[in-house]
């Protein structure tokens, strides 16, 4: 099963390598990983998506908690949560008909065209991973020149917060 594990990490050199190294050393998989500093500059927020049965996820969270640089951790998929991923996608858009069709698609998916050339559109889109996948399918792989995805970030619904 797919899990979104989110943690506060000491914002220090090598902290990310400890997390990534743990996954490769113990044979766990990482589907996506995203990390950036928080409002407290001494802390980073790292969110990763992994999968495994309950035993594997239990081991993953225990092993992560054991790392000295991991300050606090939550498995967001254990409760109600919101997940978002941002995607930048450059697509071929040369003929006017294709350009109009793309514009409509972008509107339907509530994305934005953020750069335009005579032959291309660059689109920004935010949503769940499924939605971004659906957009890629709708555009069709042949039209796509480049896809950049940030990886999933997430937050718990309601008043629960991951903080010190």
């Amino acid at each position: 099963m797919r899990h979104i594990i989110s943690m506060l990490l000491e914002n220090e050199a090598g902290a990310l390598a400890r997390v990534a190294g743990l996954f490769s050393a113990r044979g766990y998989n990482i589907e996506s990983l995203t990390v950036a500093p928080t409002e407290d500059p001494s802390l980073s927020r790292l969110t990763l998506v992994t999968s495994g049965n309950d035993e594997i996820i239990e081991q993953i969270t225990k092993q992560l908690n054991k790392l000295i640089d991991v300050v606090k951790l939550v498995d967001l998929t254990e409760g109600a949560h919101i997940e978002r991923e941002m995607m930048l996608v450059k697509v071929r858009a040369a003929e006017s008909e294709a350009r109009a069709e793309l514009k409509r698609l972008v509107d339907i998916f509530r994305g934005r065209i953020i750069d335009v050339t005579e032959r291309t559109y660059t689109i920004e889109m935010t949503g769940t991973g499924d939605k971004l996948d659906a957009f890629i399918d709708a555009v069709g792989r042949r039209a796509i020149l480049e896809v950049v995805r940030t990886g999933v970030s997430g937050i718990a619904r309601g008043e629960k917060a991951l903080r010190l």
């Binding site: 050199a13 090598g14 390598a17 050393a25 035993e55 908690n65 054991k66 000295i68 991991v70």
Partner: protein, 567 residues
Amino acid sequence: MTVELTGAEIFVRCLQEEGVEHVFGYPGGAVLHIYDALYQQDRIKHVLVRHEQAAVHAAEGYAKSSGRPGVVLVTSGPGATNAVTGIADAYMDSVPVVVFTGQVPVHLIGNDAFQEVDTIGITRPCVKHNFLVKDVRELAVTIRKAFYIATSGRPGPVVVDIPKDVTAKKAPFHYPERVSLRSYNPTLRGHPGQIRRAVDLILSAKRPMIYTGGGVILDDAAAELTEFARLLGFPVTNTLMGLGGYPATDRQFVGMLGMHGTYEANMAMHNCDVLVAIGARFDDRVTGNVEKFCPHARIIHVDIDPSSISKNVKVDIPIVGSVRNVLREMIKLIRESGRAPDRAALDAWWEQIEEWRAMDCLKYDRQAEVIKPQYVIEKLYEATRDSDVYVTSDVGQHQMWTAQFYKFDRPRRWINSGGLGTMGFGLPAAMGVQVAHPDATVVCVTGEASIQMCIQELSTCRQHGLPLKIVLLNNRYMGMVRQWQEFFYQGRYAMSYMDALPDFVALARAYGHVGMRIDRPQDVESALREALAMKDRLVFLDFQTDPAENVYPMIPAGAGQNEMILV
């Protein structure tokens, strides 16, 4: 006004503040400032090894036998990479060691400088934690943190990588009395509700079993374990790392368990209805096939490391905490409850265990014309049992025979490489033990393959006057490899025979020690006694043992604990 000290001076002051008396190490370019500072003081003694791997093993022996952290100092590049095997060994066996590695100056890091290696990157997967100190003002607090992390919770190795320029720069010296890390707070007290549930289950057991590991030794909980087991009258087994946690000569002790454990220990594990696992980690050499492990048991698991719990075997009552604290709580609750285990059921259980014990699974041919390795260990035990003795071993058959035949009644007396299984561990580890206990008898039981992996340390022993007794069980084979080839590869002994062995007696003499070669069983005892009487000399005893002897019982890989190969 605080005086400014150089990084090297700060380093020395920090070690003094930590109460460090001995450092095991090897100098080199990146640590010359530190060695210069060490040279100008006499509180900390430096033991000069001949290879950095040995420095870490010596520090491990020091730590395992004394309970105090072992300290290592090596240079950058090859100094650090040579130390990695020792660091990984300490990680697998949870040994508190702090390893200081030199590093190229900060401005050269990443430049492929001379003797540069990414020590932090290389050691990351085999340390409890590691630090690169880029600012001399961070040095003291980092060293304080390193010792704190290495020795608290589940102990382990910590590496501190110090660039050369940091040891030359100056900063005010202040050693923090305590450090706190917001992300590191080991749980020491077990959950009271869980402890209560565990005690209820323990008192309802009909066929109980206590299975304990290295955690009991590390947490100095042998006295509590003994009290707990005697209070209940339950059988006790120890893992390889846990030997000495419960007196081996006690009737309630059923021997080591696992791949080369006793028949009675493994059968009792397989048939028990309540298993109390304390400071043990359900290693694959213990469990055999986990699908067949303790099929009838409800399992209680006490461990300070939450990630050890339910890693290999799902348990019913997990308790995270210091094993000593939890044992004390359990003893208190049992006493207060006024309840006792079901006496009739326990008697029947013991009757069954005694039947298994009567199989005499460790029997061997005592009439043999050649020296049987088991016989040497038995005689060694008889000759040393009443003295202040520590025994280290290398890895292989001789290690298993020592674990089986030497009866360890006290903790911290048996020092070996369990998790990583590092050949070459025994001799340097024994050096560390002897440094920590200068007046004790320190015996290293080894094989002719293992000893050659760190044999250069005989020179260290000479320089530092370490009067070890090396008991070499010389069967001319990598015995454990040979045994597996006999059992599982139809006797195709690929590369397990050592041709062209050195003359160990001459070799020992070349290093300035006493060497003895023993060929006949009738000479074993007298040779041992003669060697042990030479209190101030290292004696290297080369016992020519039966090359075809195997370690029994044996649980083949993938089999259940009740599926042992017996003699």
